[in-house]
Symmetry: C2
């Protein structure tokens, strides 16, 4: 037990896997989880499980009830709307900045992401699609010289992602998302701040359309 793979600590591994299972709704909102249980689930003792829970509680993905246990946080419309608002605020500022100065090597990464994302969309690999979606937004932030901004957004995004997981996007929706990414890149290349901000806003709004329907269909997963 506890054979550490090269560089990643057990605690970090448990945290990463637990976060993944929560974000993909493998662990459903409202589920009770204990440190012990989490440790066993991912092949460790209580201690790494405990650290994972504390870490995820900081992102508000789990709620720790003192002396009693923890539960996977339910999807909160309020938290989701706030996260979406803050995300839009930050990401529009990112693309604004990107229009004025963009690091060369990050520009290349944007194209790579677009390509890989298109491939994932074709093969219907949603996990891969999402991964490159994240990498795209990360590359935008880094290109604008604002890596911390992505760290903030990534944390907020968790609350949005679980809702996204409920609304299974059709292939044409995936294609549309890629097109929106292209529009953002085009606006940055032309240094057109107004267009870039508008493109980013449109891109992020995409996700909120279905929210009322989702809540109606899955009332038990919402707060």
């Amino acid at each position: 037990m506890t054979v550490r793979t090269a560089s990643e600590s057990m605690a970090h591994k448990v945290e990463r896997q637990l976060r993944g299972d929560i974000l993909t709704l493998v662990l459903q909102p409202g589920a009770r989880i204990s440190e012990q249980e989490i440790g066993e689930r991912y092949g460790s003792s209580r201690q790494p499980g405990r650290e994972a829970l504390i870490a995820l509680a900081k992102s508000r993905l789990v709620e720790i009830l003192p002396q009693r246990g923890a539960v996977v946080a339910k999807i909160s419309v309020s938290k989701l709307m706030q996260a979406a608002f803050i995300r839009e605020t930050i990401e529009t500022a990112i693309v604004s900045t990107a229009c004025n100065a963009f690091h060369f090597h990050a520009r290349q990464r944007l194209d790579d992401c677009l390509k890989e994302q298109a491939r994932a969309a074709e093969s219907g690999n949603r996990a891969e699609f999402r991964r490159y979606d994240d990498l795209f937004h990360k590359a935008l932030a880094e290109g604008a010289g604002l890596p911390m901004a992505w760290a903030v957004v990534e944390d907020l995004k968790a609350h949005i992602d679980r809702a996204c997981c409920l609304s299974l996007h059709a292939p044409e929706t995936l294609a549309k998302l890629i097109e929106e990414h292209r529009a953002i890149v085009a606006a940055i290349d032309q240094r057109d701040e107004t267009a870039a901000r508008a493109a980013m806003t449109a891109h992020l709004c995409e996700l909120l359309h279905d929210l009322p329907r989702l809540e109606a269909e899955h009332p038990d997963l919402f707060e």
Copy 2:
């Protein structure tokens, strides 16, 4: 040992105190700290010390060197500038929102903060002044219906605060800060978004003037 005071766990207490000592430069940037040492310093065993270090590493206030120890993060101009940028982005969005709708009970809190802050400024109590400064910004966010936004800003603010701690403000500077707060409130009362955003931007820029001087005077505290 380990007598828990009602509701706060030892781990949480150690984290709070350690954060305080780092933000006020009692623990200087660059200082090496171990779990053991932190535990002893605040009267606990290694475990709460460890949890505190992990928590503060998440806010990037300490850097954990795997298998080796931890150091108080040096003040990074890059992180500081990014934090300031993101903070300004979020807080201007907050006051924009506040102009369109502001919760009544939070409005009262704003006035309370202004009053208490003025009192702290007169008596020269800087810690108290800061505390009400935070509460003011928090009340703004909550009044706008965006408590999560404050949570994000509060975390980012840490990087800015340490630099602020270096530049000892004169009493007239404190008065000026309060005046800026008043201007923000006035703009919100008049529902003047443009003025509110401008007032907030001016208020936050205040802090960055001294930065080059500070870095020159304390090169060892910077990255």
